[in-house]
């Protein structure tokens, strides 16, 4: 019990620190959102008319004169009401709504891709470790090469081949924006469209991340196979499949599962580059645009959601580890 109390206390303190930092960092960041907003308008072309300047002044309002402490207290107050403020870049959309729209796409696509890449990588890694020293070893350089290739480059090549040249896959969006003018709906056509549009982005993520899982798993597998209990199991004459799966893979996969927990936490942060390349409406892109535009409310909101997700994933992993590995509980 002491283990769980300690863990929970630790996470509460971490959460408080993370939220406070989340409040403070944008305050300390240089940059005048108003100036950046104007620059953005000017860079796109067109004259900044006096009406527009007047509007911008009215919109951004006077500088907040409240003391930092008062702002901090007010920030917590709003947080408890679930109010994350209003985005300037996507005015007048509340930050909670923007995040609410983006999150399902990110979690769906990046989450699924992470799971696929994990299952595939660990599975292949276990197989490669089991078959070490044979031709199977050659998949390792191939997969690490895919991982070493810069992600955006891999993505752009796939886009160029599969959506521009051959036209097999769509180029942008999370569904057919030419066909569904009314937005998402519950229909088979729409679900199909979502899967179709998600395939290529998911493939790029899987291709670029499977190598890491594979290599890690393969190496753990190799070292586990030299453990005495594996030798014992083989000596007992157990079936080879049983030795491979229940004795070797199961133990070798433990560190991978810890890594998987963390990876799942970061799923929420999305994949900034993927979302940019495919115009995919996820959280990563929202964060990217918020930082570029010094859109503090949106920045704080996305950071907060990401922080919470990472903390929650770690917490969950801690709890699960406490169950599956008694040593973790003993070592408090």
């Amino acid at each position: 019990m002491r283990y769980y109390v300690r863990r929970i206390t630790f996470y509460v303190i971490t959460l408080w620190a993370a939220v406070s930092l989340n409040f403070l960092i944008p305050k300390l960041m240089p940059g005048d959102p108003r100036q950046i907003f104007i620059d953005k308008l000017m860079r796109r072309g067109g004259e900044l008319t006096p009406q527009m300047q007047n509007s911008i002044d009215l919109l951004f309002g006077a500088d907040d004169d409240a003391s930092l402490w008062d702002q901090y207290v007010a920030y917590w107050g709003r947080l408890f009401q679930g109010d994350l403020g209003i985005s300037i870049t996507y005015y007048p959309q509340p930050v909670t709504e923007l995040i609410g729209q983006a999150l399902p796409w990110t979690v769906g696509l990046v989450g699924l891709a992470t799971i696929i890449s994990f299952v595939l990588g660990v599975g292949l890694g276990a197989w490669a470790g089991w078959k070490r020293g044979t031709w199977v070893d050659s998949i390792i350089p191939a997969s690490t090469l895919l991982q070493a290739v810069p992600y955006f480059w891999l993505a752009l090549i796939l886009v160029s081949v599969f959506s521009v040249t051959t036209g097999w896959f769509p180029r942008i969006g999370s569904y057919d924006i030419f066909g569904f003018d009314n937005g998402p709906e519950w229909s088979w056509a729409f679900v199909g469209s979502v899967i179709y549009h998600g395939f290529l982005p998911a493939l790029t993520i899987v291709l670029s991340s499977v190598g890491g899982w594979l290599l890690g798993m393969r190496n753990m597998m190799v070292s586990t196979l030299s453990e005495d209990y594996v030798t014992t199991a083989e000596a007992k004459g157990l079936r080879r499949m049983r030795v491979a799966l229940t004795y070797a893979t199961r133990n070798a996969a433990l560190p991978s599962f810890a890594g998987f927990g963390v990876a799942l936490g970061f799923v929420v942060a999305g994949s900034v580059v993927m979302e940019q390349v495919f115009s995919y409406p996820g959280l990563g892109k929202l964060l990217f645009n918020a930082v570029q535009a010094s859109d503090f409310a949106l920045m704080q909101g996305t950071f907060l959601v990401i922080t919470l997700a990472v903390l929650a994933a770690n917490f969950l992993m801690d709890i699960i580890y406490g169950f599956i590995d008694p040593r973790a509980r003993a070592n408090v």
Partner: protein, 559 residues
């Protein structure tokens, strides 16, 4: 044992999946497989105007950047000022206008019989409201009144000839019966806009929004019945969609346009408008420091610059020739004084640059760099890292200046650092743009970018609306701008412009580099009626305020 457990797990998984599937089936509504054909057989026009996702419904023209369609397709101005070519203002909601001799009163006759899309009649009250509300009002306006239902009269406290294009050209007219009910005009999202323009808003999702033709439009129902504005996040994606036939109208920089126009579907229009320049922090009195505060150094940089090479290497050969008068060559030729050189030198002349420096008392040091009073001609040039065209200008200029004995150090900084340095005047040289005027007259550049009223001392941050970043102050220019503003007589204005042009072509607070390309790609296979090189009836980019509505109203599906 293990096997049976595994089977049990598998069964659970199957049950779960089936359950989800059943749920999804239960929730499925009507399928929307709407193709590209609209009801009467015409094709939907797909536009990218630079909008990024997520798209947020905001059709309020008082918001600084509403959805593009609000500015021209849904709301209209009184007159259209075409900045693409020299021409008279074209009547829209207004029919004619008249100034008094002293420039203190402006009277506009309005078009009769125009209806808002909710059926209400458009009249002078709408115009008065649109000009006097909190978001639109200007301090030089004394009053705006409806003389009769179709006549509006402005009264000013000083001659306002120069505000004409802004008052009746860029200001959009909104329905008083709706907007007067709104508490805060700037923060109002106006999700269901009621306008007078050729199109009505239809649907908005976070990925795209659509417009449908306003069948009761005063100018006649538009021929293209449906327009879809796409949200696309990267230029590369937009380029790919253009080559695959998904986008019919967009404006963006593409270095090798032939690749896109090769299949004959898309045509490109290049309408350069906005000059790229080197901002130089000029005024010692206002706190600028460095060799560039000496006019001889600025002139030497101007002469040492090889603009042909810069155009080829930094702008893919697509930009146009800059003029030290900042009048747009071709369109504004009538405004250029015969006493100044109309074009900036297109090739480098290191010898001439050296001569200018030597005459000003500079001597060449052992390292080949000029110096005076022990001070080397060495300056820092700032560009924003990642703005590739500007970065290339910087790199090329460093080399070109060096050949003329001028040392320039090129620093690539973040946009934030550039923005801060520009607003506070804490830079020596900076590659920067000037935004062109909304009509065929360089006046707004002279006033907003070059007069003392539009600048602040170094260290003081310039508020929005002030653009004289080089801190250029010249009483002769100030006086001439003021004199030009007070007259509506073209010859009198030309006289003042000649004075301004002589001063700025010599002083070079902005060293002109090129006039930026502005490429627009249009689908000429499926649609006709686009502006062309020969008939630039409107400025063609898909994002341009007001002109996008003019273009949309003239398009027709190709039969």
């Amino acid at each position: 044992m293990i096997r049976s457990r595994a089977r049990k797990r598998l069964l659970t998984a199957v049950a779960l999946v089936t359950g989800v599937t059943l749920m999804a089936t239960g929730c499925s509504g009507s399928g929307n497989g709407e193709g590209e054909e609209t009801a009467d057989g015409g094709r939907t026009l797909n536009v990218w105007a630079g909008t990024q996702t997520p798209i947020v419904a905001n059709f309020n023209p008082y918001f600084p950047n509403p959805l593009h369609a609000a500015n021209g397709a849904i709301y209209e101005p009184l007159f259209y000022y075409n900045k693409a070519q020299a021409s008279d203002p074209e009547p829209r909601l207004g029919e004619s206008f008249e100034w008094t001799e002293d420039g203190l009163e402006l009277t506009v006759k309005l078009r009769e019989g125009v209806k808002w899309t909710d059926g209400e009649a458009f009249d002078a009250d709408d115009v008065v409201f649109s000009q006097t509300n909190e978001a639109a009002k200007r301090d030089f306006i004394v009053s705006v009144e409806a003389v009769d239902p179709y006549t509006v009269k402005w009264t000013f406290n000083s001659p306002q000839f120069t505000s004409e294009a802004q008052l009746i050209g860029t200001a959009l007219v909104v329905p008083e019966h709706i907007f007067s009910e709104v508490d805060d005009l700037v923060t109002f999202a106006n999700e269901n806009p009621v306008g007078t323009g050729p199109y009505k808003a239809d649907t908005v999702t976070d990925a795209a929004y659509t417009l449908v033709a306003n069948e009761d439009y005063w100018g006649g129902a538009p021929k293209v019945k449906k327009v879809r504005y796409l949200g696309i996040d990267a230029n590369q994606s937009a380029e790919d969609l253009m080559t695959t036939g998904k986008v019919d109208w967009t404006a963006m920089f593409v270095a090798d346009p032939e690749r896109i126009t090769a299949d004959g579907r898309l045509s490109m229009l290049n309408t350069p408008q906005n000059p790229t320049t080197i901002y130089t922090c000029v005024s010692v009195d206002l706190g600028c420091t460095g060799p560039q505060t000496d006019v001889a150094v600025r002139q030497a940089i101007d002469l040492a610059m090889d603009r042909t090479e810069i155009n080829e290497k930094a702008f893919a050969g697509l930009s146009a020739t800059a003029s030290p008068t900042f009048a747009l060559l071709g369109r504004d030729d009538r405004w250029i004084s015969p006493d100044v050189e109309a074009e900036s030198p297109q090739t480098a002349d290191a010898a001439a640059a050296s001569k200018v420096l030597e005459e000003a008392g500079y001597t060449k040091g052992a390292d080949g760099i000029y110096e005076k009073d022990g001070q080397k001609v060495e300056m820092a040039l700032v560009t924003v890292d990642g703005w590739n065209d500007y970065n290339a200008v910087g790199d090329l200029l460093v080399e070109q200046a060096k050949a003329a004995g001028i040392s320039i150090v090129h620093n690539k900084v973040t946009q934030q650092e550039m923005s801060d340095a520009r607003a506070a005047g804490t830079y020596q040289l900076m590659v920067g743009g000037i935004t062109g005027p909304v009509l065929d007259d360089p006046f707004s550049i002279y006033r907003q970018w070059m007069t003392t009223d539009y600048t602040r001392p170094v260290g003081e941050v310039m508020e929005s609306g002030l653009f004289n970043y080089p801190r250029y102050t010249n009483p002769t220019v100030d006086a001439a701008v003021e004199a030009a503003a007070a007259t509506n007589d073209e010859d009198a204005k030309k006289e003042q412009y000649a004075i301004i042009q002589t001063e700025i072509a010599r002083d070079l607070p902005y060293i002109p580099v090129v006039v930026n390309a502005s490429q627009t790609f249009v689908d000429t296979k499926d649609f006709t009626g686009w502006p062309t090189e020969d008939d630039l009836y409107a400025f063609p980019p898909s994002w341009d305020t007001v002109s996008l509505g003019i273009v949309l109203s003239k398009l027709e599906p190709a039969s």
